[in-house]
Symmetry: C2
Subunit: 412 residues, 2 copies
């Protein structure tokens, strides 16, 4: 089965908004085993919508539309759909009850414009939008499926997750099973060379995708077939093999983040943490405190951007900085000791590096970074050489530091 | 003139990559006075490319393509373009010289695959890609313009800026002038109500667009006409009026950021800065240290995530926290005093708030945030009530704090 995604509205065409909806829908469809043939963004004009529908239905069996359903511009998209399907708008009581419910929640009065949102083409089945007033619509015609959804991301996502994807899955005799393994600290091409044999031996119905982000490479295994239990067993076995091959790089699966996993470990042990950051400039503390509830284990941080602060606040010895430099094994170790003592915590992360673009030398080029992690279970100090891009160096140093903290826990 | 953007390649269709290129191109075209009629993402298959070109040329005069020009999949896009235009690939010496130059820089040997990148359709003019090995291509046929560019964002952007946009501008008899004014601390609808009269009185050829981001609303004025000098004068006059209407909200223009502007002010005064952060968890320090050269004025930060750290490191009095709470005017003032004393700096930002989702009360709901800014020129302490979303509260608190620092400088 092939699908197309059509985005209706001017925001994307004038470059005001980046089309994240289509990427999300495309990923979900792919995970369901449905190939996306085309993604199209058009303006909310009658002829343009009719034309796009006509073209898409010549190529694909499933056409998912987002946008153009707000109360003020309502008429164009829904009436155009009526025209395309040769039908008319009718009042839908369930959609209206939902609108009433949402207005009661927000304490607003319903206007005639809002009442019109409950009118939908007679030939569609209504998809209840629990997060908004514009109902989703599911059409079937000549063996094709057309779905219209609002463009507000969280309304669209819940409609997709609750209504559309389950129905699409039911249409397919094929089952899909996938797992996404997250790795840190290894580049895509080096990773590919390590797991080359394993990858070559994957059966034809199990596909591997490399999904790289700065500092992180996600490996997604997708299997399709007719027996879901069998697929699960096969994929899980392959994932176990992968854990055996690259245990040092895997930190989690799916939606895991390093800061969440490291934080959960601390919580489990009852340990507290503080960070002493130079080149990362507070970014590690920012990642950790992005997690609700992190105050249970995170006490705080000293961003020691100048040597003065490293000495006066963290107690790094001036001789250490003079002899070894601010970016050195000795300095990050003293930074870690200092933050543990001053903040009275169990664990510390200390980072000092040259983020760039200036400050590099032949001996210590831009990207050189020392990281020290100390916990009651042991300590590790390690040198990294990242790249030349300031923002990416900060991100990679923070992820490497969180990964060292995660690994410091050993097997529990 | 109308344009279309066609993205070639599977990464977007499987949802692996979000299509930021098209949004950027669309914005640039709009600023040049060219309307984007459609954005299309397709796979790199011959029939699909031919079909998309055919459809686009039926609607628009300018067709910009990105992607599908890498050395390994080279042939499909370029040969498909040859088929579409009824021409053949020829070797281009300038393109080859550029490839040689880039390989010398990277210290690599040229392979036959790379040499093939210098072959381009005979009917196009080559656009030199100074950042990569795949040349851009400009075609003209039957009154239409077709441009093919690589999909790597920074290669595409320099090709657009250096070659494509100047040529497109030359085609149009119409001049365009625009300025983008950046505001902080005011919602879109409230802003709209304050400047309603001013907006209503804009002449028809000057358009206003509201471009909201979390914490920031950009106001873009675009004027089109035949006399560029006149347009500039008109827009500049309207912008001056705007500065008179909402001086308290405007912090900059174009690509300015609050952290850059506040940093430049400090540098000019020769002042140093440190931050004492509770709910923002190091995010302000992260924004400031994202700027290369910030070490000239930024000494560091204490992230005081627990009351203990506020007391032991920043010297906040236990009685203050007990009597007024950690989220209070008195606490942030003592945090600011403490960081100035401990870090021996001229200026301080101190923030304490309830980021959520937990920790709120009737008296101090989630989103309640106190910010104190102290400089040798004076001090200000202010309470903000943001929303319920943790990530957005952190972002809005950081922007509000940087804006208070910026304003503390007065008129220089």
């Amino acid at each position: 089965m092939k699908a197309e995604i059509i985005t209706i509205g001017d925001e994307i065409l004038i470059g005001q908004v980046i089309d994240t909806n289509s990427a999300w829908i495309a990923e979900q469809l792919n995970l369901t085993g449905i190939k996306v043939a085309q993604i199209t963004s058009i303006s909310d004009q009658r002829e343009h919508i009719l034309n796009a529908l006509e073209e898409a239905s010549g190529r694909s069996e499933i056409i998912l539309m987002t946008g153009g359903l707000g109360p003020t511009r309502d008429d164009i998209t829904k009436e155009t759909l009526c025209e395309y399907f040769g039908t008319r708008l009718v009042f839908n009581q369930d959609a209206f009850n939902n609108i009433e419910r949402i207005f009661r929640l927000r304490g607003f009065q319903i206007t005639p414009l809002n009442r019109a949102q409950a009118e939908i083409p007679e030939n569609c089945s209504m998809l209840l939008n629990s997060n908004g007033t514009a109902p989703g619509m599911w059409f079937e015609k000549d063996g094709r499926i057309y779905v219209s959804m609002p463009g507000v991301p969280f309304e669209m996502k819940s409609l997709m997750t609750d209504c559309v994807l389950p129905r699409l899955k039911n249409l397919s005799p094929v089952s899909i099973y996938h797992r996404t393994i997250l790795t840190q600290g290894v580049g895509e091409s080096f990773l590919a060379s390590i797991i080359e044999n394993w990858e070559t031996n994957l059966p034809a119905h199990i596909k591997l995708a490399y999904l790289p982000q700065p500092g992180i490479v996600r490996l997604r295994l997708s299997a399709s077939g007719h027996n879901l239990n069998l697929l699960m067993n096969e994929v899980n076995e392959k994932v176990n093999e992968l854990y055996g091959l690259i245990p040092q790089y895997i930190f989690g699966e799916g939606e895991d983040t390093l800061e969440k996993i490291a934080g959960d470990q601390l919580k489990k042990r009852g340990y507290t943490l503080a960070t002493a950051e130079s080149c990362t400039g507070g970014y590690i503390a920012h990642l950790i405190t992005g997690i609700a509830g992190s105050s249970a284990y995170f006490k705080g941080s000293v961003v020691a951007y100048s040597n003065e602060i490293k000495e006066n606040i963290l107690g790094v010895k001036p001789e250490t900085i003079e002899k070894y430099g601010a970016v050195s094994e000795q300095t990050v170790q003293e930074m870690a000791d200092g933050i543990i003592e001053k903040f009275r915590v169990d664990c510390a992360i200390a980072v000092s590096g040259i983020a760039g673009p200036d400050g590099g030398s032949d001996e210590k080029p831009v990207g050189t970074t020392w990281i020290c992690v100390k916990t009651p279970l042991g300590s590790i100090t390690k040198k990294f050489t990242f790249g030349e891009h300031r923002g990416r160096n900060i991100r990679r140093a923070a992820l490497a530091a969180l990964d060292l903290l995660r690994k410091s826990d050993g097997v529990t």
